[in-house]
Subunit: 318 residues, 2 copies
């Protein structure tokens, strides 16, 4: 439960800045805007200060009039609240804003959060920071409305992968049930957030699939993406995100590898596993990092020998 | 609310057959097995009689020992319950089983249900038959357990497209919240049901994407699938399902068309729209049918002229 000190500090403040982490995702943005709308209803002056502007995919999200981008805004602030931000480094350039006030609050759901603010509340059992903000808005006695509900829906739905990830709990669905009762356009938002793609990304997927190789009786999937493919698809580097899941989602595949040749002989390797293979080990061996199920590294060399090397590593773990 | 007559009839029966519709989907199978497990806990003899066997994708679902396939099983039945079945035609060959008893119950959430049984309960406000079975099991005073919860989770999650479709309500999430509290392995089940594919389907997607054309300033997407592509991918006819969504999900696309050439000059046309174009109109014009957002028809001719014809129709609706 969020302690009284945090609630009192918010209640007694008048001019509040709310900061999501750099490269803000749905949880960070949705949580900041939901809290911002709630504080506005308490007659506070509120700015949501972002490092970058709101990504196109969230262009429908309510409360964007509160957003300012960059580190300039500091006018008379008496409280800065960071949301979904595990450490000071994730504040980015806006560290000036954070340091411009004596009162700071850090609310997050990352277990690794190092409690860098004056007041801190970290709950690693929450699937999303949005779940914590839901409770906080209740504690602040603000009436929920469709705008707040929509922001929190986006926060929680995105951080749980549309309620599919391991972090999804009974509480998650209880909160979402309540939010929907205030008027969330579930199908429209889901369509925009989860089922939207670009023609460039689709074309890149096509090129990538054309290179799909299944080895070791279908347990290992390899895909490679060259600059030529990106060019032919009109795609950007970020369009490579998620392509590793094409292989991972195939029945029988345990480990999926994407070899992205960024410049001649310079490969970025993306690894995913499904159940038991620790791809983090493989990435670590080549100076990369990550977790058991998702990891990455960079290797210089030619496609065939790199593929062979990684294959040998993965074979030992099958 | 399900009426007392239905509850009393179930309570007083001893040997019950539960029937999903033909080509049973997640809602039909999950609902039947959940109710089957609940009735077994009330010491009834229960068979879930299916037209076809349980599809591979649901191989993890609890209660499969109750399943028998085909129309033979009639031993001493005193009650037949159909679930998720809109009309008698959807009972298929098992009509013999249905007709072998005097007591029949029809429980469904399709608004078009024509109440063909002795006792009928149709609630079109439920997102899935699974939501109704959840209430029914409560009325039967059976304790929920992880098996019942898992079956109902599958039923509701699949019929709401993982909580993304328009039918998803506050009630849907309230029920799911309760079910998860009994022990549903959300991430494992979601992975199997929503994120699993086959290498053949992935390869077919690759071939299909290679044919992607965007016309009318990106508002109309065309893809075609030939028998050669199916063969090259090692894919089956059913692997064509869903490929129309690749085009539909592209930002800016309003209508998506898949032209599937089943035999030389014989095309099956699959149409989807995103917001305002009524593709049902187009399908109807060529002797097909469907809804505003999803429709289909069959046309004989050559690829280019069919494409041109459909393009002209769609252009008028843009």
């Amino acid at each position: 439960m969020i302690n009284n000190e945090i609630v009192s500090k918010i209640i007694s403040s008048k001019n509040v800045a709310i900061l999501p982490h750099i490269q803000a995702d749905g949880d960070a943005i949705g949580s900041c805007l939901a809290l911002g709308i709630a504080l506005t209803k308490l007659n506070k002056k509120v700015k949501v200060i972002m490092e970058e502007s709101v990504p196109e995919v969230y262009n429908f999200i309510p409360g964007q009039a509160m957003v300012s981008v960059g580190s300039e805004y500091k006018e008379g602030l008496d409280l800065v609240i960071t949301l979904d931000t595990g450490d000071v480094g994730r504040i980015g350039e806006r560290i000036d804003v954070f340091k411009s006030v004596d009162s700071t609050i850090n609310i997050d759901h990352h277990g690794t959060n190092n409690e860098f603010a004056v007041l801190n509340y970290v709950d690693a059992d929450s699937a999303a920071t949005g779940e914590i903000i839901y409770e906080l808005i209740k504690l602040l006695n603000v009436d929920f409305d469709a705008d707040i509900a929509t922001c929190l829906y986006v926060a929680i739905a995105t951080d749980t992968g549309c309620f599919k990830f391991k972090n999804t709990t009974s509480k998650t669905h209880r909160i979402i049930s309540d939010l929907i009762s205030f008027g969330v356009n579930v199908s429209e938002i889901s369509g925009k957030v989860f089922d939207s793609t670009t023609k460039e990304k689709v074309r890149l997927m096509g090129h990538a699939i054309n290179t799909l190789e299944l080895l070791e009786e279908g347990k290992i999937a390899f895909v490679n993406i060259s600059n030529e493919m990106l060019k032919a698809a009109g795609a950007k580097e970020e369009d490579c995100d998620g392509i590793v899941n094409i292989g991972r989602n195939i029945v029988g595949v345990e480990a999926s590898v994407v070899l992205r040749e960024r410049s001649s002989g310079d490969f970025k390797i993306n690894l995913r596993s499904k159940t038991y293979v620790d791809v983090g080990q493989v990435a670590l061996k080549y100076g990369g990092g990550g977790h058991k199920m998702a990891a990455g590294c960079a290797i210089k060399g030619d496609l065939d020998s790199i593929k062979k090397m990684i294959l040998e590593e993965l074979k030992r773990l099958l």
